[in-house]
């Protein structure tokens, strides 16, 4: 078992009323799964994803990641955990525009305080694997959307995470580029990486082995 959510509630208070963003979520994810989270706008898809990614907290319930209780963990421990095991992919890529492709890929390794030689080897390896060696000295704005997202995925993968969380990874891409990214996910999944993605598209959702539907913060 990779992670488990038990009775997760998340709310905000607005105008004296409690508005639930997540309501009684129970979810178990095994290693190697490929899950799509679907639902209309405002149904809590992204919130759930960020809760899973430990970027967002929750108000009630329990979250175990690799048998460890995330809900009682200290900030530092939690951040170490996710640095180790989780990679993020965003709809709008969120690459650092001031850094080249190479430097963007290198960044997470720098934060992990990895040695220079090992870093170089890993980055080179990743460029090779994604076939973007030629682009290594370009800055993100110089790339097409598909290429940027490729870099985004590569960056998420570079520290060998167990889990990739993707928030509408193809939302800004045309259908051909989108398809390529989905194929990539499928291949990564077959190599053993657990993937959870938020998506609007039925077609993209169908790449997954399991689909979770949300409505008003509830799993249906």
């Amino acid at each position: 078992m990779l992670l488990q959510l038990n009775n997760i509630f998340k709310w905000v208070n607005s105008g004296g009323q409690r508005i639930f963003l997540l309501k009684d979520i129970n979810l178990t994810v095994e290693e190697g799964e490929f899950i799509s989270i679907m639902g209309p706008s405002g149904s809590g898809k992204s919130t759930l994803l960020y809760v899973l990614g430990m970027l967002d907290g929750f108000d009630e319930g329990e979250y175990h990641f690799l048998e460890e209780p995330v809900h009682t963990m200290k900030e530092k421990h939690r951040s170490n955990l996710y640095k180790e095991y989780i990679g993020f992919v965003f709809q709008s890529y969120h690459l650092l525009d001031e850094l080249t492709v190479w430097e963007n890929l290198e960044m997470p390794l720098l934060y992990k305080k990895m040695g220079s030689a090992e870093r170089k080897a890993k980055v080179a390896d990743m460029l090779d694997r994604f076939n973007i060696v030629a682009k290594k000295d370009l800055f993100p704005p110089q790339l097409s959307g598909g290429q940027q997202q490729l870099v985004g995925v590569a960056r998420a993968l570079i520290s060998n995470p167990k889990l990739i969380l993707a928030d509408e990874p193809t939302g800004n891409l045309n259908s051909k580029q989108g398809e390529e990214i989905m194929e990539l996910f499928k291949q990564l999944n077959s190599e053993g990486v657990t993937i959870i993605q938020v998506t609007h598209s039925e077609k993209n959702a169908s790449y997954a082995s399991r689909v979770i539907n949300l409505l008003d913060g509830r799993m249906i």
């Binding site: 992204s46 960020y50 970027l55 967002d56 530092k76 951040s79 640095k83 993020f88 965003f90 709008s92 969120h94 690459l95 650092l96 001031e98 850094l99 430097e103 290198e106 960044m107 997470p108 720098l110 934060y111 992990k112 960056r155 520290s159």
Partner: protein, 794 residues
């Protein structure tokens, strides 16, 4: 990681060149100003410090009482030197009397040079701390020998060693060169007085009893105190020297002697009622304050501008956190960036300061340079870079690094964040300072204008003054005058003792009808000849001018209005005034008050006496206003040379002397003008910071308003209003502050302008205009943005 941080910082700067320029440039400007002011202060504080007996040299001053007003005089009489030496020898290593600087003409072979120097007693080399190039210090003091400064020696003798060579002084005395010393440094009070040093004994040869008596104060007295006696002890000891020695007449003014130490000459030489009340030190404090404030404003601005953009960095912070950055690492990154920028600013400021030095030295009349090797510079460097770097890094480092990544990455509406209030206070503060400086500058110029408009009582235009330095000139005066007057380039030539722009001699102990016997008088003296009044075009109000038609005019005097009032004459003409030397003087006329001293003080009681013994050694030459100046000057020097081949002509224009009177004020005005300009500039940077911040914060609001139909000009108005309000508030606070400060400043001037309300109005209006110009750049851009774009970002 460090490399990575620097790389990001550098690329960020390159990406926003305009912003980087303003930010780095603004801070560099602040640093540069502070550096220059620091150099100025350093120079002022270290004045005279090169003297190897800095703590032991002092000048003997006296406080004299004139009817309750205590005046502090530098001048002393001749017997005082011996009195100090014999009665108080245990306190002093040296007592040296010195004349005031005099201009003398030196001739060696065909070379003739005029130079300022002094006649001093034997201990002069010690008092002045001379650095000998040739000859020994001990050889000073022979009446027939002279010491020369390196510059004078060089212009007379060239490269050769002049020791033992002889030269002619003022065409009458042959002297042997006994020593050559290095020129006094610019940072020495003796600088302008030591072109040559001759023995006081030379001057005293054949001097009459007048020069040797206790009554005539015409010398300065310097002392070197013995090692284990303090200035205070010696000062207290000599207090009554004059009282114990001088005659009754001297005692009337109750002279009290005291020592004014070398360490105070430069900055604490303003005396009021016998007590040192400062002097230039006021300006040291003022400039120090301005310097600190400029640095403060520039630094805060820098922080302000840096953080105004921090919203843009929020996304980056989010990403970095997601890909594994810890808070500490982010904090490090932001500090690194701000340190880099501050460092760049500092080096830029060194370049700016270096470039501005010539101008700075010109305005301040100094000779300062950046003290590259001085540890203070680098201490200041470390402190200011460290402080500003850390302060400007603090906000982004701690505020931004605490962002929850989810907020920025999910594209939730960005919180306005930041301290709008803090920025507003900052802008107000900056404008308080700027407007205060602007008002100060305006008042200074108004005061200068005011005194310039003051009626002089005579005509300075086309008035040339030529000193008669040698017997040759004095002997040939009449012939020279007649030859000049043959040409129509010259209207009149007259003699006087003092230049009309600077009357400094005074006499006391006169007697006249109606004088209160206890009244201790002091009347300024103008020793002039027949043509003087016509030459300077004074206005006789009552009676008549001196005239050759009256033989009795040899004992005639003309009083100015102030003197008439001072002496209390109802009907001044014909009044007899008894002079202290026994003569009876007759008042023949009253002349309109003339500004013969300070422009800022009321006119002083002055008595113009006929120069019957031809003591007046200054020629006043009035040019015909219709002649070409260059031609007239050529003619003048030709005629002069013809009569006086052995005395080089030196001349000053009365107009220049007149301008000298407000040169200091003009300099202060210029400096404060520059400071005001820079303060405005720095304040505009602060405004720009606020404007861009506000524009960004209100992007959405502007977008919505536009969609609802607001025009660009309406938006511009809406956005500008806030800033105008702030600046007006700043001005409103500045006006009472500036008003108080400038009233205090004006208090020092007896003759002063009134500050008009319109002046405050102009200053505030100017500030508002500058504000509108500055913020319009930002507001118009924000107002012109396509609303779709701005709304979509939300």
């Amino acid at each position: 990681m460090l490399k990575n941080h620097l790389k990001i910082a550098w690329r960020n700067l390159r990406k926003n060149k305009g912003y980087a320029l303003i930010n780095i440039g603004g801070l560099a400007l602040g640093f540069a100003i502070t550096l220059l002011i620091g150099l100025w202060i350093y120079d002022e504080l270290s004045f005279n410090k090169q003297h190897s007996d800095y703590d032991r040299i002092a000048e003997v001053l006296q406080n004299v009482d004139f009817d309750g007003t205590i005046e502090t005089w530098e001048s002393q009489n001749y017997p005082l030197g011996d009195a100090l030496r014999t009665e108080y020898g245990t306190y002093f290593d040296e007592v040296v009397m010195s004349t005031y600087p005099r201009r003398s003409i030196f001739k060696h072979g065909e070379t003739v040079v005029g130079e300022m120097g002094t006649f001093m007693e034997d201990g002069a080399p010690t008092i002045l701390d001379l650095k000998m190039l040739h000859g020994a210090k001990t050889s000073f003091g022979e009446p027939n020998s002279i010491f020369l400064s390196a510059t004078l020696a060089n212009s007379l003798f060239g490269e050769e060693n002049p020791i033992g060579k002889s030269l002619m002084m003022n065409n009458e005395t042959s002297l042997k060169v006994a020593g050559v010393y290095e020129d006094m440094p610019r940072s020495s009070n003796f600088r302008d007085e030591t072109g040559y040093l001759a023995s006081l004994d030379l001057l005293m040869i054949g001097a009459g009893p007048n020069k040797k008596g206790w009554l005539n104060n015409w010398l300065m007295v310097f002392v070197k105190i013995v090692e284990n006696v303090t200035v205070e002890q010696a000062s207290a000891a000599i207090k009554d020297v004059k009282l114990n020695n001088a005659g009754e007449k001297e005692l009337q003014s109750n002279p009290q002697l005291f020592l004014h130490p070398l360490s105070k000459w430069r900055l604490y030489s303003h005396f009021e009622n016998g007590v040192s009340i400062g002097g230039r030190i006021t300006y040291v404090w003022l400039f120090g304050f301005i310097g600190a404030f400029v640095l403060f404003l520039a630094s805060i601005n820098f922080i302000n501008l840096s953080t105004a953009r921090s919203q843009k960095r929020a996304e980056e912070v989010g990403i970095r956190k997601v890909i594994g950055s810890s808070k500490i690492q982010l904090i490090q990154q932001f500090f690194m960036e701000s340190l880099l920028v501050v460092l760049l600013s500092f080096f830029l400021s060194l370049i700016l300061a270096q470039l501005a030095l010539p101008l700075f030295n010109d305005i301040t009349q100094k000779d300062v340079g950046i003290l590259w090797g001085h540890p203070m510079l680098w201490v200041m460097f470390l402190v200011s870079v460290g402080l500003v770097g850390i302060l400007s890094g603090l906000y982004p480092a701690f505020y931004l690094s605490s962002f929850l990544p989810i907020k920025v990455l999910k594209g939730l509406p960005r919180t306005a964040g930041g301290n709008v209030r803090f920025r507003r206070v900052l802008v107000i503060l900056q404008f308080v300072v700027s407007v205060t400086l602007v008002i100060g500058t305006l008042v200074i110029y108004q005061q200068i204008q005011f005194v310039k408009n003051r009626s002089l009582g005579y005509e300075v235009e086309g008035l040339i003054m030529v000193p008669m330095q040698t017997d040759e000139v004095k002997k040939n005066y009449e012939a020279f005058r007649n030859t000049l007057l043959e040409s129509n380039a010259f209207l009149e030539v007259a003699r006087s003792e003092s230049p009309v722009t600077n009357t400094w001699y005074s006499d006391f102990d006169f007697n006249w009808k109606g004088k209160d016997p206890g009244f201790r008088d002091n009347i300024f003296r103008g020793l002039v000849n027949h043509e003087f009044g016509k030459t300077i075009q004074w206005n006789i109000l009552k009676g008549r001018d001196f005239s050759k038609a009256y033989a009795t005019d040899s004992t005639a005097v003309i009083l100015n209005e102030a003197a008439v009032k001072y002496m209390g004459f109802e009907d001044p003409i014909g009044q007899i005034i008894e002079a202290p030397w026994g003569e009876e003087l007759t008042v023949i006329g009253v002349v309109e008050d003339m500004i013969t001293q300070s422009l800022y003080e009321s006119n002083k009681q002055t008595m113009f006496r006929f120069d019957r013994y031809q003591q007046a050694n200054l020629m006043n030459i009035k040019l015909n206003p219709n002649t070409d100046l260059t031609e007239a000057m050529n003619q003048l020097s030709t005629v002069y040379k013809q009569f006086n081949p052995n005395t080089p002509m030196e001349y000053t224009f009365a107009e220049d002397q007149y301008a000298e009177k407000f040169a200091f004020e003009a300099r202060v005005g210029k400096l404060s003008g520059i400071f005001a300009g820079l303060a405005i500039f720095i304040s505009c940077l602060g405004l720009l910071g606020l404007a861009s911040f506000v524009a960004e914060r209100r992007t959405k609001e502007i977008g919505i308003r536009k969609v609802l139909g607001a025009s660009v000009s309406m938006l511009w108005q809406m956005l500008s209003k806030e800033f105008v309000g702030l600046v007006l508030l700043g001005s409103a606070l500045a006006i009472p502050l500036a008003s108080y400060m400038m009233q205090q400043w004006l208090k020092d001037y007896e003759y002063r302008t009134e500050i008009s309300w319109s002046l405050y109005g102009y200053a505030a209006l100017g500030a508002v205009l500058v504000t509108l110009l500055t913020v319009s750049f930002q507001t118009l851009r924000a107002a012109q943005n396509n609303p779709i774009k701005s709304l979509r970002t939300e």
